[in-house]
Amino acid sequence: MPGFTLPSATLLAQSVLSGIFVGALYGLMGLGLSLSWGLLRIINLAHFAFAFLAAYVCYQLATQGVDPLLTLLGIVPAFFVLGVLLQWLMARFRMTTFNSLLLTFGLMGIVEAIIQTIWTADFRKLESAYANQKFKLGALFVPVPELITLVLAVSLALSIWAVLRYTDLGRALRAAAEDSAVAAAFGVDQRRNGLLLAGTCAALVSIAGVCIALTATLAPSQMYAWIGVVFAAVMLGGLGSAIGPLVAGLLIGVSEAVTMAVTAPSWAPIVSFTLLIVVLILRPGKAA
C-alpha cells in the first residue's frame, strides 16, 4: 500500500491551489460536453480531439510569434464552424445518443491521426511570454497561465449559465430538451438552435484547448487521458448544466491534488472514477 505522508500546511495549500486550477480546466472542458449531452442528446467524444487540435494550432501560431491569447480570435470562429458542420451531419442522419458516442470516437481517431501527421508524436511545449510568469499570494505561487485558465473557465461558465437562465434562446433550448414536440408547437426552431449550440460548444472547447496549450505539454495520445476525468465532472455536475461541471471539476481537481500530496500521484485517477461510479449507481436519474 502507498505510504501516507502528511505534508506541511503550505504544501497542502499549494496543492489545493493547483487542484483548483486543474479543476477549472476540467470544468471548461466539460462545459461544452455537458451542454451537448444534456440539451442535444449527443455525446461528443470528438470534443477532446477538437480541444487538442485547437491546442496544437495555438502552439503552431505561437511558434510563429503570435501571442497565444490572440490566436483565440481565429481559433474560436473556426471551431464554431466545425461544430456546426458536425451537428449538421448528426442531425441529418438522426443520430441516436449511443451512436453519436461511437461516431465521435471514430472522428477522434481521425483527428488524432491528422495531429500526429502534422506535428508528430513528440511532446511539444508552448513557450510564451506568460509561461514562466508567476506571482506570489502570501506564501503561495500563482502561475499566470493557470490563472488565465481559471478566469476564463469561471467567466465562460457564468456567461453560459446566464444565457440559459435569462434569455429566450436559453429557455428555448431547455424546453426543447424536455419536450421537443411541444416546444416546436410554440415556435422553437430546434434545427437552427441545435446548430448554434453545437457551434458554441466547439468554440468553448477550443478555448479550453488554448488553455491546455498554455499550461500543459502536448502529445496526441494525451487527449485520451482527459476523457475519464471530464466525464466524471460532467456527470457529477448534471447534464445540461453550465455551472455544474465547473463545480464538480473543482471538487475533483482538489480531491486529486490532495490525494497526490498525501499519497502518490499515480493514485489520482481513482478519485474521479470512483466518484463517477458512485454517482452512476446511486443517482443515475440525475444524469439521465
Partner: protein, 582 residues
C-alpha cells in the same frame, strides 16, 4: 452437433497444422493477433451485442486475466497453462461482482452502462498500477518458460490463440441458438416486456457477463506471456473496448460470427497500414470506417451480406391485406347467468399510487374460471393500471391478489408469466428485431416452459395458424399492420399457455370486420379453457363477448353485472356521458 460447429472445428483442426509449414514468424504473429481479437470481440458480443448493454469495460476484464497470469507466473512461478483457468475465473468473478450491483439499478442502461464500465476500467487499472500487482513498473515475464506446443515459440502462441478462438466461437454460436440466447436478444429489444413474458433478465445478464469476462480473461492470460512485459498503460485504457466495439459493430452485433468477421477485417487492415509504414494513417482509416459504418451500415457487414445472399424477394413483400381466417358473425351473447366456475383470481383492497396520484383506490373483484370479464370505464379510471399490477409490470401499493390459491403481490413479473397469466399491451410491443415466428416462440419458451428453440418454433407455428398469421411467420413486426400486430400480441400471450389472459384494448383502431374476426378469436380462446379479462372501449365487442363487466371510475369499481344491464344504470351513464343523461 450442427453444421456450423462442425465447420468451426474442422477449420480449426486444419489451421492447427499450419505451423508445420514452417512459415516465417511474422505470419504466426499476424494470425495470433487476428485470433486474439476474435476472442475479445466475440466474447464482448456475448453480453453486449445480444442484450444491447454496450460495455466499455472489456479492457478491465481482459486486464484482470492478464495480470492474474502475470502475477502467478512472476510471483508464484506457476506453470503457464494452469494460470489460464484461474485468469478466466478471476475475470469472471470481477464481472459478476460488478454486474450483481449494476444490473439491479434499473436506469443504468445504454450510454450510462458504457460510462460506468469505462470508469471501472480506470479504477481497476489504477489499483493494479499502484499495488504490488504491477507497482507502476510493469511486470517482466521474459524469464518464464513458454510451453512447447508447437515447433517454435511464436507458433505456440498461435496455437493457444487458435484454441481460445475456437472455444469462443463454439460457445458464442451455442448461445445464440439456445433458449438463453433468445432471452438475451429479447432483452435488447424490450427488457421490460421480456421480463413480463417470463425471461429472467437479471440472471441472464449476469450469466452472459460472466461468460464474456471469463473468455476475455483467457485471452488476457495468453497475451501476458505473448507480450512478455506487461504494463498498466497498455491494458487498462479506452483502446481495447473501443476496438472491440468497432469490430463487432462493423461485422454485425446480432450474428454470432459478426465480431469475428470484423476482427479479421480490422486486424488485416491495420496490419497492412503498419506494414506499409503508415500506422498513423491506419488509425485514421479505422476512424473513418467506424463513422461510415454508423452512418450507412448500422447493422454491420454480415447481415447485409446475408440479406443479399437470400435476396430481398424472400421477405414478406407480398403484402397480403387481411390474414384472419374467414369467420362467422359473432354469436349472440349468452343469456344465462355466467357459469358458476370456481374463483380463479381474487383481488381485494388493491391500491396503486404513482407519486401522489391514486390510480387504484381499493379495487376488489373475483374472476371465475372460464368467464370473459370486461373492464370498462372512462379514460384514466384505472383499467390499464389494474392489468399492469396483476401481471407484475407494476408493484401494488397495497392489497392482495390471489391467483389459483397463490399470492401474486411481490412476485417478479417473469414468474407471474411462467405461472399461467399472460397479457397483451394496448400499444403492441413486439420484439422489433425478431421475426413474427421468433416473437411467439420466445413466449412459448419462457412463459410456456418449452426448453429448446426448435420445439418452441413448432409450437409457435401452431399459434400463428390459430390467429391467422401463418403467412407472416418470417416477417419482421414493422411489416405488419395494426390488426396483425394486435394478433401477434395475442399469439404471444397464448403461446405461454396461460390459464388467465389479460387483454388491454386489443380492438382499438380496428375496422368493423377486423373486430368481428377478433371477437371470434377471443371466443375460441375461451372455448379452449382460458379465463379472459379484457379492457375494452368498443362497445359492440363488449356486448357480444362478455359474461360480466365491471366499470372503473377514478380508481374504484362503480358497478358490476351483465353488460346490457350495467350500461343502462344511471350512475354508469353519468360517468360516461355526464349528468344530463341520469
Amino acid at each position: 452437433m450442427n453444421r456450423a460447429t462442425v465447420a468451426i472445428l474442422a477449420v480449426a483442426a486444419a489451421m492447427a497444422l499450419l505451423p508445420l509449414l514452417g512459415l516465417p514468424a511474422f505470419y504466426d504473429a499476424l494470425l495470433y493477433l487476428m485470433l486474439h481479437w476474435i476472442v475479445l470481440a466475440t466474447s464482448w458480443n456475448i453480453l453486449s451485442g445480444t442484450t444491447g448493454y454496450f460495455s466499455f469495460g472489456h479492457g478491465a476484464f481482459f486486464g484482470a486475466g492478464l495480470y492474474t497470469t502475470s502475477t502467478l507466473l512472476a510471483r508464484f512461478e506457476w506453470p503457464f497453462l494452469w494460470t489460464l483457468p484461474v485468469a478466466a475465473g478471476v475475470a469472471a468473478l470481477l464481472g459478476t461482482a460488478l454486474g450483481a450491483v449494476v444490473f439491479r439499478v434499473r436506469s443504468v442502461r445504454g450510454e450510462l452502462f458504457a460510462l460506468l464500465t469505462l470508469a471501472i476500467t480506470f479504477v481497476v487499472g489504477t489499483i493494479v498500477g499502484n499495488t504490488p500487482i504491477d507497482g507502476g513498473n510493469g511486470v517482466s515475464l521474459t524469464s518464464v518458460p513458454v510451453p512447447h506446443l508447437g515447433p517454435t515459440q511464436s507458433s505456440t502462441f498461435y496455437l493457444l490463440a487458435l484454441a481460445a478462438a475456437t472455444l469462443t466461437l463454439v460457445v458464442a454460436r451455442a448461445i445464440f441458438f439456445s433458449r438463453f440466447g433468445a432471452g438475451l436478444l429479447a432483452i435488447h429489444d424490450d427488457e421490460d416486456a421480456a421480463e413480463v413474458m417470463g425471461v429472467p433478465t437479471y440472471r441472464y445478464k449476469l450469466v452472459a457477463l460472466a461468460i464474456s469476462c471469463a473468455l476475455a480473461g483467457v485471452a488476457g492470460g495468453i497475451h501476458a506471456l505473448f507480450l512478455s512485459y506487461v504494463t498498466v498503460g497498455e491494458v487498462f485504457t479506452i483502446t481495447v473496448p473501443l476496438t472491440v466495439v468497432l469490430m463487432s459493430v462493423l461485422g454485425g452485433t446480432r450474428h454470432w460470427a459478426g465480431p469475428a468477421v470484423g476482427a479479421v477485417a480490422i486486424t488485416g487492415l491495420l496490419y497492412s497500414f503498419t506494414a506499409a509504414d503508415h500506422a498513423v494513417a491506419g488509425k485514421a482509416a479505422i476512424g473513418a470506417i467506424l463513422i461510415a459504418a454508423i452512418l450507412f451500415m448500422p447493422d454491420g457487414i454480415l447481415p447485409r451480406v446475408q440479406r443479399a445472399w437470400r435476396g430481398v424477394a424472400h421477405r414478406g413483400v407480398k403484402k397480403t391485406a387481411s390474414v384472419a381466417p374467414a369467420v362467422a358473425a359473432p354469436a349472440p351473447p349468452s343469456s344465462t347467468v355466467p357459469a358458476a366456475g370456481d374463483v380463479v383470481l381474487r383481488v381485494s383492497g388493491l391500491h396503486k399510487r404513482f407519486k401522489g396520484v391514486r390510480a387504484l383506490a381499493g379495487v376488489a373483484v373475483d374472476v371465475r374460471r372460464g368467464e370473459i370479464l370486461g373492464l370498462l370505464g372512462p379514460n384514466g379510471s384505472g383499467k390499464s393500471t389494474f392489468i399492469n399490477v396483476v401481471s407484475g409490470h407494476y408493484a401494488a401499493s397495497a392489497g392482495e391478489i390471489v391467483f389459483e390459491g397463490r399470492g401474486l403481490v411481490g412476485t417478479p413479473a417473469h414468474r407471474i408469466a411462467a405461472g399461467g397469466i399472460a397479457r397483451t399491451y394496448q400499444i403492441p410491443r413486439p420484439f422489433a428485431h425478431m421475426t413474427v415466428l421468433d416473437n411467439v416462440a420466445l413466449a412459448a419458451m419462457f412463459g410456456g416452459g418449452i426448453a429448446t428453440p426448435r420445439v418452441a418454433r413448432t409450437a409457435a407455428q401452431e399459434w400463428l395458424d390459430f390467429t391467422g398469421l401463418a403467412a407472416k411467420a418470417d416477417a419482421l413486426p414493422d411489416e405488419l399492420n395494426l390488426h396483425q400486430r394486435k394478433f401477434l400480441e395475442l399469439a404471444r400471450a397464448l403461446a405461454s399457455r396461460p390459464r388467465l389472459v389479460l387483454l388491454d384494448e386489443v380492438l382499438c383502431g380496428l375496422t368493423p370486420s377486423e373486430i368481428d374476426s377478433a371477437v371470434a378469436l377471443i371466443r375460441r380462446i375461451r372455448d379452449q379453457g382460458a379465463t379472459i379479462v379484457f379492457v375494452e372501449h368498443v362497445m359492440r365487442a363488449v356486448m357480444a363477448l362478455t359474461d360480466r363487466v365491471v366499470v372503473f371510475h377514478h380508481g374504484e369499481l362503480l358497478a358490476e353485472g351483465r353488460a346490457a344491464d350495467v350500461m343502462q344504470r344511471p350512475e354508469v351513464m353519468t360517468a360516461y356521458l355526464g349528468r344530463a343523461h341520469a
